[in-house]
Subunit: 201 residues, 2 copies
Amino acid sequence: MTHATETKTAENGVNVTALLGAREALSRAPEAARFKWRATSKWLKGTHSRGTVEGFFGLGGEQMHRQRYQFDSDHPEVFASEDNGATPVEIVLVALAGCLTAGVAAVAQKRNIQLRSVQATVEAPMDIQGILGIDPEVRNGFDRIKVHYEIDADATAEEIAALVAQSQKRSAVFDVVTNPTEVAVTSSKVDRSGAPGEFEC
Amino acid sequence: MTHATETKTAENGVNVTALLGAREALSRAPEAARFKWRATSKWLKGTHSRGTVEGFFGLGGEQMHRQRYQFDSDHPEVFASEDNGATPVEIVLVALAGCLTAGVAAVAQKRNIQLRSVQATVEAPMDIQGILGIDPEVRNGFDRIKVHYEIDADATAEEIAALVAQSQKRSAVFDVVTNPTEVAVTSSKVDRSGAPGEFEC
């Protein structure tokens, strides 16, 4: 008699059938795979600003999130700021962990591995002599990033390590952080008397 | 008679005196400039997870934020998910804008430019054939990122463009996105019977 757990289907809440269907559909219609992600940000005071995420473009049309998501960011009190939100660099770490964790759940579902808990701890050293302009040899960003997962699942430690490895291979934020992306920043002055002038910088 | 606005001091809510003092102090004590930023993330269900930011290391000791900050991330309904939060890639765009905007405010304060409003619009195209594993030639991350600032300030369009340019030069998240950062991911299985086994992946 076969042990009951051997034939059980994992239920991690990821619709793998739909994802595989989307992959199939998009490989026949690659134009629909061209997405545009967006955010806006409004300065509030000092180093405090509020980011908003609401709509994006994908599958050939404009899409809306179920609701508007907002994120306050600020600098901490040790930077003489008011600490009205997490720092932008901490928010990047949150995004990295969120992306990898979604991947872990999706890969686990595909491999029929039942997850019970997934916890990520992220740590990233930074020498702030860079952002303060003390030493031009010090970069502004992180020196490096460490992510550690503690996972409780119906799987061996090796299978869990393989889940985490596969998640990195498909993670958008892991790619953004580990590889360079071109960022173009432009500005315009709000001219109350007429059209704004635009400047590349 | 001098026009009144020529001698007015800008008030953008950034304590530039304290920041310049910190720069002075940290240039004499570079060890205190070694920070460690942290985040944790807990899987909830499917692609939905919750990130938490609470403490960090800096100025030679453990520091706490004024409060705990939490961020839900999820995939949207067009990815057959429940859309219980912004996607991790949108959260990266929020972080980028938040970092650049804090820089704009700090530089404006230092240059005695009064800001009235600062709005950033960020857009980043992505071909999701990458993350879906359809085409190995397509990267998982963004093709590129565009950030546009509309700024109302007591300054010319050229001065505003210079503010935005200087902000990029000192922005940690701009550096993280435009340059590669090494990410090491490890995992351990929660073993209810004893110590967890650790695996590099």
